[in-house]
Amino acid sequence: MADIQKYFTKFHEAIKLKRFEENSTLVEKRDIILNKLAAGLKKNFEDKDESVPKYNWFNQGSYEMGTGIKPINSDYDIDVGISFKIAKDDYSDPVDVKKWVYEALVGHTKRVEVRRPCVTVFYQKEGETEYHVDLAVYSDEECNSDGKKYLAKGKLNSSSNNKVWDHSEPCKLTNLINDHYSGDDHKQFVRVVRYLKRWKDNNFKIDGNAAPIGIGLTITSYDYYTPKKDLVDVFANKYNYNDLSALKNVVIRMISCFATYYDNGTSSERLKTYLPVEPRCDVFEKMTDNQMADFKKQLNALLDALNIAEDEVDPVAACESLQKIFGDDFPVPEKSDTAQKKGPAIITSSASA
């Protein structure tokens, strides 16, 4: 079989977003906001003659998991957790705590919003949002009698039953993902997640819940991924990783886990995938039945493209099939790059009958 792996490797290099340490613009934005938050909280509370709430912060989300990709039709985002050293029982309205963050940051850019799961600071350039920083606000586990961390959920004008403290384990999730496999197997796992995320960006509309969310694709990969590699040198214990096979395995298992669920006389076919940590919700629960049907259809199209690429003799045609599904960042080599160089040939005349 032709060596398609090197084209997957190039694709991965093209789409991957490096972690904080390597990405100065995002680190810069994050640090500016953290400084602004510290100063804003201090000022706002001192003005009220109240003690300034203590907190710690941590990176969370795809950056911390190392699964981020370059966006193609949306803006870059950074996720930061702000864990206040407060007991949730002392603050019956979690949005009050989110307001501390909002009020410390409002005016920092043209657009700062309290969204249901977080407070978001948008950075714009020439009218287009270029970056946004999501700050998830927590009540720290050290301060709650049950030893649990709670996420503040709700918008400024939400009704009281939409304002809740949700048990949440963001650091535990990051650790589970990062420690699931180690070494080169972990690197292949991360590549598979990134391939799925770019496939999602390239094949689904961005509005609403039309597309499966990135963390959902990460969790399904966490559930279904197994390393795929071929032993090429027994003595040196050298393996060649086969990303096509690893991705195909995850996709087949995703498709096969769609099931029909019955509820009040109606039925719907869904892929349910639960967070392996609190709040243990179905990560795809917001998708409608029609969006789910499209999700499955697109997964089948992805599987078809992977099968064609796997069976194809010509690496050029294999990569063309993959480029159709993954977009232009998937490289298609020149014919001459795929073949061995040969010396000249001199033919004789020929007679056939």
Binding site: A2, V313, K335, A345, I346, T348, S349, S350, S352
Partner: protein
Amino acid sequence: MSVTDNLPTNQIVYLRPKGGRVLIPEVILASIAPYVQNSWNKPEAGGVIMGRYIKDCEDIVVDKITLPMLGDKSGRFSFFRNKKSHQKVIDHEWEASNYTCTYLGGWHTHPEPVPTPSFVDKNDWKRNMKQDFFDSNCLFFMIVGTAEIRLWEGNKHKNSLTALNRI
């Protein structure tokens, strides 16, 4: 419906005896199609096959073929391929492809549904393997029948000929 309607139009893949595959893409089959001897007045036709030895595996992709050219002679049951004009194409394709599109062997037509090589064919192929100059161990020979296209792989060192099976 004529028998040629059975001829494959999608790509054909053959399995090589020691692993690896040979791909004849759709575009090559389409360029051969007009020469299929599916009526009494169509003469035998032929040319050379060129293509790529894919890196890191035993797979081969046919990328170019030559069609009958000036200097060739064809009858209902025979075809003579003149070396000069076909050699020019081989040289051109080889240079234009950064020396990767190489001479792979030859093809010709037969006015029978499932083609088998004649005595003349086999002798010619053996002679090709000995007298042609090429940078590999093997040559491929394709006969286009009216219902099937068959491919043989000849090994220069073993002086052997193997009919390849389709996948």
